[in-house]
């Protein structure tokens, strides 16, 4: 699999380590009401879809950036990649 790194171009997936569902970016607030249940969901439960999946890959053997790769889990086709930082900042309301 080749991952289209937004800064470095096509890179072999072997240079990356895999973390999992990109939903892991949305860490719950540990001080909020019902935090224990929210963290159980966050840590242990997964959508695990057959089809398009947004997931976190770490460019460990490269520039050590975190990417969100959009990939089809049925065909292994890679549909795109973005810097996880950009996605996280955009979710927080800009500041890019």
């Amino acid at each position: 699999m080749l991952i289209p790194h937004p800064l470095l171009g096509l890179r072999d997936a072997q240079e990356f380590t895999y973390l999992g569902d990109a939903a892991l970016l949305n860490r719950p607030d540990g001080m909020a009401e019902g935090a224990a249940e929210a963290f159980n969901d966050y840590v242990y439960l997964r959508d695990n879809p057959a089809g398009v999946h947004r997931e976190l890959w770490f460019h460990e053997q490269g520039d050590r950036s975190w990417l969100i790769v959009t990939r089809n889990t049925v065909t292994h086709e890679i549909l795109g990649a973005e810097l996880a930082r950009d996605v996280a900042l955009a979710a927080k309301g800009g500041a890019q």
Partner: protein
């Protein structure tokens, strides 16, 4: 139709005209007491034990494709009970004991061969860990022997003992472990269940659950609605997809694990050897092919095929351990989809939906568990109480903090 030596001779003398199909091919009834979703090893074993041990009746197994078309026919056929933790080891030893009597019990040749499994040791720390594991196995009534370097050399003199990175210093041996003919296991349980009146319904895909007021009433299928008092789901690899239809998210990711077989060779590996440090394990099939594999690819997948880097990694592990393997040609490579759970251990439990039961999360270790998994799941379905050896496999153990993490890797499925 019973199988016996006498029967084989009789059929040989009469032109093999007396053999019959091993099971019926019934159309689905409108309703059953028990519906098992998934006609793989665990589903068929569940139906068999439900009918045989727990005297259940009106049982159906629904299979999307043909019986045994999933992981029961895609694994590397190893049976063993060499686990460490108290939540796991008694269960796998119970399974091992069922393997030892299975062929007599269901009158089918599953080619169970207790040829022994050897886990190689390369460091003092690993020896300590394996000594502890061996003791845990003995405590649970299993067998275990710690071998030194000469002990391993006596068994497999052709291993590369002086690899610069991972010299072989000994091994943990379980002699009662071994291999079994994986399809034969599925066929044996299918035939056994069919003889006890279970309807094995193939080409029948479950497309939804009918749930009212928190209780399951039946399943929607590609062959119409089928009512059920209790529904047991045993569809490892697809558990996430199936349980999503019941509105549940699971502590499971689906990953692909590859396996390989070489061309047929003369007998060389008479047991099972695991080289954990090099991500490689090997046995030899009765046809002569070396059957081997390594780690999962490590990313979510439903593709039933992996990628080349892992093939290369496994081949390198093989070359490091047994350089002679370099002369053998690879015949086939394939992949199976694993339910990788968040702690590396399985789930056999009720669900929050009344009447809906789940058997899932077997990671890459489901084959060896086939008999006990079916037995325990059948007991849960029939009595609503867990089998004593499977009582730790709760669905809510993650929320309660009672994970069973053999490798101590945490909630990271691709590391288990």
């Amino acid at each position: 139709m019973r199988f016996s030596g006498f029967r084989v001779v009789k059929e040989a003398l009469t032109g093999h005209k007396g053999w019959r199909p091993l099971w019926r091919n019934p159309a689905p009834q409108p309703a059953y007491d028990y519906v098992i979703v998934g006609g793989g090893g665990h589903g068929l074993s569940t139906a068999y034990h439900l009918a045989k041990v727990f005297k259940g009746s009106r049982i159906a197994v629904l299979e999307k494709g043909w019986l045994g078309s999933g992981n029961i026919g895609r694994n590397t056929t190893i049976i063993r009970s060499n686990y460490l933790l108290p939540g796991n080891e008694p269960f796998y030893e119970f399974s091992m004991k069922l393997w030892e009597n299975m062929e007599q019990e269901f009158n089918f040749n599953a080619m169970v061969s207790q040829r022994g499994i050897l886990n190689l040791i390369h460091t003092d720390a690993q020896r300590d860990a394996y000594r502890r594991r061996g003791n845990a196995m003995l405590l649970a009534g299993a067998d275990a022997e710690l071998l030194d370097r000469d002990g391993v050399r006596g068994m497999y003199p052709w291993l590369n003992f002086d690899n610069a990175r991972f010299p072989i210093k000994g091994g943990l041996l379980q002699r009662r472990a071994g291999t079994a003919r994986h399809d034969g296991v599925a066929w044996g349980y299918a035939r056994g269940a069919d003889l006890l009146g279970v309807d094995l319904i193939q080409n029948c895909e479950v497309t939804g659950f009918r749930i009212e007021n928190g209780r399951v009433l039946g399943v929607e299928t590609s062959r119409g609605y089928i009512g059920a008092k209790k529904v047991g789901v045993a569809v490892a690899g697809s558990s996430g997809r199936v349980m999503q239809m019941a509105g549940m998210r699971l502590p499971i990711e689906s990953h692909v694990l590859q396996a390989f077989v070489s061309e047929g060779l003369k007998p060389v590996v008479d047991g099972v050897i695991t080289f954990g440090a090099g991500h490689f394990y090997v046995s030899q099939s009765d046809k002569g092919g070396l059957v081997f594999g390594g780690d999962i690819d490590g990313y979510n997948s439903y593709a039933q095929r992996g990628n080349l880097p892992v093939i290369e990694d496994v081949a390198e592990g093989g070359m490091a351990l047994m350089p002679a393997i370099g002369r053998a040609r690879l015949l086939r490579a394939w992949g199976g989809i694993m339910d990788m759970s968040m702690d590396g251990s399985p789930i056999i439990d009720r669900t929050p939906i009344e009447g809906l039961y789940l058997n899932a999360g077997w990671c890459y270790g489901g084959f060896k568990a086939t008999p006990a998994s079916g037995y325990a799941f059948a007991q849960l379905l029939a009595t609503d109480a867990p089998h004593p050896t499977a009582s730790a496999y709760r669905l809510d153990r993650f929320a309660r903090g009672y994970v069973i993490d053999e490798k101590g890797m945490g909630a990271q499925p691709n590391l288990h």
